[in-house]
Symmetry: C2
Subunit: 207 residues, 2 copies
DNA sequence: GTATCAACCGACACCTTGTCGGTAATCATT
DNA sequence: AATGATTACCGACAAGGTGTCGGTTGATAC
């Protein structure tokens, strides 16, 4: 009794289970044997669909980042939303993304997941930086910001928020609040925004 | 003909060779077999001195970061050097550090070295951030800066410079220059320094 | 000279990834 | 409906990795 599925079905099944297992045990500790055991397929089947364990990881990261970036893009391209609100929403989108809500991300900073973490971060940042830069330029045109290097400003803000808000489990609420306030303040300065203009829209979430 | 050495001697020997091999092949690809083969010791000897391969990695990172941080500390604590110059030197120290000069760091961004990279970055940043924050406060007192959150400002600048100047191999010289100029500019803004005050001391290196 | 201890050895157990020749289900084509 | 080609699937196996463990040898102490 051998069960046959379409390639796409099977691939998704493998990705789903692999994602589960990476979340439970970490990328290094979860073996391909764990994956095939949980699905109930043979070794050869796994390698029929994916060339290597790392290819599976890449596919998972692809799935995850694609939707995150799509979300950010939707916000940025919204014609009706004011720029400042878009900035706030975009920042939020990324920090929810990496703010330890997803099961995989929950233990992503564990040493066994260094590879997952690094790849994810690279892809997320390279996808989101241009979008946020676009937003900065929009703010420049409207006289809300005065950013001379929108691209690099975006990069700096994105990288920092990604790295700094990565492991906030071991912070007290007070520390978190301070960190959030400081982040908003520095973002205002980098963008050349009027003091307090971002606090209004971001304060409720960060502070 | 068995050669006996003191534990410290042997440990250092292992670390030296391991560092070489991690640099050549990456952490994942270099096996403990490679290490013992190159030294000419037995498997048991390696595990007599270190409990695991990862423990060797940690020891190497320790050695490397210790000296980097010591260098930064020496600069920060120099009583005779002007603050702005210290800021420049400190920033330089870190970027030389991670600017692909060392053989190990040369290929650190390769996927096989994600773990090495992550651990190194964490340790470096956590060590350097407080030092740089101290420098910022000194600048505040002298009226050179106007930084409301010295600790977080330091964190932002350190994290960004570490991540952003990590993989500069695939950038054109022109792009590098632009990135450097933007970085200086944003650093001035974050610190609340007078426009151009950092360009004077940092320009020669970055721009 | 003998006892003790730390450095050292190497076989071995166990696990991992990726390969490969063969099998069975499905889809075209006539 | 039969035949052929394609594609999913299987599981044994090779190659190689990490960490363990009982035993051995050199150095140190007494």
């Amino acid at each position: 009794m051998r069960i046959v599925k379409t390639a796409e079905e099977r691939k998704n099944e493998i990705l789903d289970v692999a994602e589960e297992l990476f979340a439970e045990k970490g990328y290094d500790n979860a073996s391909t044997n764990d994956i095939i055991a949980r699905i109930g397929i043979a070794r050869g089947t796994l390698y029929h669909h994916f060339g290597s364990k790392e290819e599976i990881l890449d596919a998972i990261i692809d799935r995850m980042t694609r939707q995150a970036i799509a979300g950010a893009k939707a916000i940025v391209n919204d014609k009706d939303m004011p720029v400042l609100e878009k900035v706030a929403k975009a920042l939020l989108a990324i920090n929810i993304q990496n703010g330890a809500k997803d099961a995989v991300l929950e233990q992503m900073h564990k040493p066994q997941n260094a590879l997952l973490h690094q790849k994810m971060q690279e892809k997320l940042i390279s996808g989101v930086v241009p979008l946020f830069a676009q937003l900065i330029e929009e703010g420049n045109k409207q006289g809300l910001f005065d950013a001379r290097y929108p691209q690099e400003a975006s990069e700096m803000i994105m990288i920092y928020s990604n790295v700094a808000f990565d492991e906030l489990e071991n912070l007290t609420p007070k520390q978190m609040k301070a960190k959030g306030k400081a982040f908003i303040h520095h973002t205002e300065r980098i963008l050349g925004a009027k003091e307090g203009s971002l606090v209004k829209v971001l304060g409720p979430f960060f502070g």
